[in-house]
Amino acid sequence: MREAVAAHVHDGDTVVIEGFTHLICFAAGHEIIRQRRRELTLCRLTPDLIYDQMIAAGCARKLVFSWAGNPGAGSLHAFRRAVERKGGGPLELEEYSHFGMVARLCAGAARLPFWTLRDYMGTDLPAANPSIRTIECPYTGEVLATVPALNPDVTIVHAQRADAEGNAQIWGLLGVQKEAAFASRRVIVVVEELVDQSVIRGDPNRTLIPGLAVDAVVVEPWGAHPSYAQGYYDRDNEFYVGWEEISRDPAALERYLEAMVYGVPDRTGYVEKCGDLERLRAGSRVCAGVNYGY
């Protein structure tokens, strides 16, 4: 991870770490904090705890997003302090809805300059964000919304497994990882397990991101904690609930970063310091295979 972040994440980059609740790569976020990257434009539908930590650590110049809360538990207070100018920031915002962010990545993945959607009429979002525009249908004359393509410098995707060439398989929630990877100039795939290519070739319909789009593969078990990896470990909901108290207090947040990010050399160190993660280990619900014969 150290080498991958050093090689592919630079100061000033536009960075996407995707994963909708599922497979959020905290391991990569922490390494970016440790390497003290600055002036990043951070993009994610849901900034989640990981971007709250990166904002608190001073990595971010700008946030591009659609829902900035702590899912099911409260606020992202480092984010709020920055935006409400209560001791944080400044932090530039570029705000969409989920569909708008998804559409931006669809355009990026298709290498089109924009994407069309039926959205935003009657809302105040276009007034808050001049990048939300309109276009007229060449067939019906209808006016539809557009958003510009998002083509990040680097996208980091956490996957359950990949081979050494980065052919990555994901099951459970898929979010916008495929679109983000194809939209990006560089792609880091972080996996719970590195598998032999025969595992990938055994079930090719399960592959979400092909190795041809991947620049680095990093093996990092528990790399999504406190988020989750279906079939590997559950979400650490206690940590999400507890984040409310940590992030509300800048000193507590700083202590957290000191202890769990700056204070450990790598993900292995983090996992050791977390203590008993085994309580989150997934139970077994293995599905049946299908026949690829002919």
């Binding site: 909708f20 609740t21 599922h22 539908l45 849901t46 997003f65 659609s66 829902w67 900035a68 809360g69 899912p71 099911g72 606020s75 984010f79 709020r80 935006v83 409400e84 100018r85 705000e95 969409y96 809805s97 989920h98 569909f99 998804v102 559409a103 990545l105 669809c106 959607l117 039926r118 959205d119 935003y120 009429m121 009657g122 809302t123 105040d124 979002l125 007034a127 808050a128 209808e142 006016v143 099951w171 459970g172 929630l173 898929l174 979010g175 916008v176 495929k178 679109e179 989750y228 279906q230 559950d234 979400r235 909901n237 999400y240 619900r285």
Partner: protein, 254 residues
């Protein structure tokens, strides 16, 4: 049998759902309402989460719309591009649930900022999928507790459009869905008046006085000509909520 406002809200929201409908579910009370409906009058209700889980039948109470229990045993997992394009924009969602820090006279909802957008007093999470749910779901049901702060005459920021936005109506703006036809509160139900687009009181909960509702609304609330009667939660509904659906009282606290 006594019951809490949260329990009543979950029950009233559940009764809004018809069997076989396709529902875009949020976490918390909407999720409880949907699962209560499934356990009572609407066993064939189809639950879709914006995370991509379709036909979820979670074996535990999901703590987020991306909970792994929504995936395991579901009918389909869609990427989010398909969720928004092929399901929501396509017109497949019959009911959407919305909540918000502010709901105004015309059903506009604000989940973005309190105060000015550029220098907000309180920065809220933002739209998520709420803007497009409000536009595309065939109808939406909003759930919110009454208070003058939560029900202002006009919201500070329109995140999810209601029935009149700066003087313009939904049809004029080309919105496919009917918008927030009902608002389920802790004291009664508001419904849209079709011509004006204004929210009117359509029902009071048992034992609630009209003045209690008016005290929690920031505009001169009008009442529908005849108010509906709403039965209190049944013993079975309360049993399901308390013992089966949310035994730890995660979302039924107050």
């Amino acid at each position: 049998m006594t019951y809490s406002p949260a329990e009543m809200m979950a029950v009233v929201a559940a009764r809004e759902l018809r069997d076989g409908e396709v529902v875009f579910v949020g976490i918390g009370l909407p999720n409880l309402a949907c699962n209560l409906a499934r356990a009572t009058h609407a066993p064939r209700l189809l639950l879709i989460y914006e995370s991509g889980a379709v036909g979820a039948e979670p074996e535990r109470l999901p703590v987020s719309i991306g909970d792994p229990s929504l995936v395991t045993g579901s009918l389909m997992v869609s990427g989010m591009a398909d969720v928004f394009q092929c399901l929501l924009q396509n017109g497949r969602i019959e009911v959407g649930f919305l909540g918000g820090a502010q709901i105004d006279r015309y059903g506009n909802i604000n989940t973005t900022v309190v105060g000015d957008y550029a220098r907000p007093t309180v920065r809220l999470p933002g739209s998520g999928g709420a803007a497009e749910i409000a536009i595309h779901a065939r109808r939406t049901v909003a759930i919110s507790r009454l208070s003058r702060r939560a029900f202002p005459e006009a919201v500070d920021f329109i995140t999810s459009p209601g029935h009149r936005m700066r003087g313009r109506g939904r049809r004029e703006l080309g919105m496919p869905g009917a918008g927030p036809v009902k608002v389920v509160t802790d004291k009664g139900v508001l419904e849209v008046e079709p011509d004006s687009g204004e929210l009117l009181l359509s029902a009071l909960y048992p034992g609630v006085a009209l003045e209690e509702v008016r005290a929690g609304v920031g505009w001169p609330l009008r009442c529908r000509a005849a108010l509906d009667t709403i039965d209190p939660p049944t013993a079975r509904e309360l049993h399901l909520l308390r013992e089966v659906l949310d035994p730890q009282r995660l979302f039924l606290k107050a």
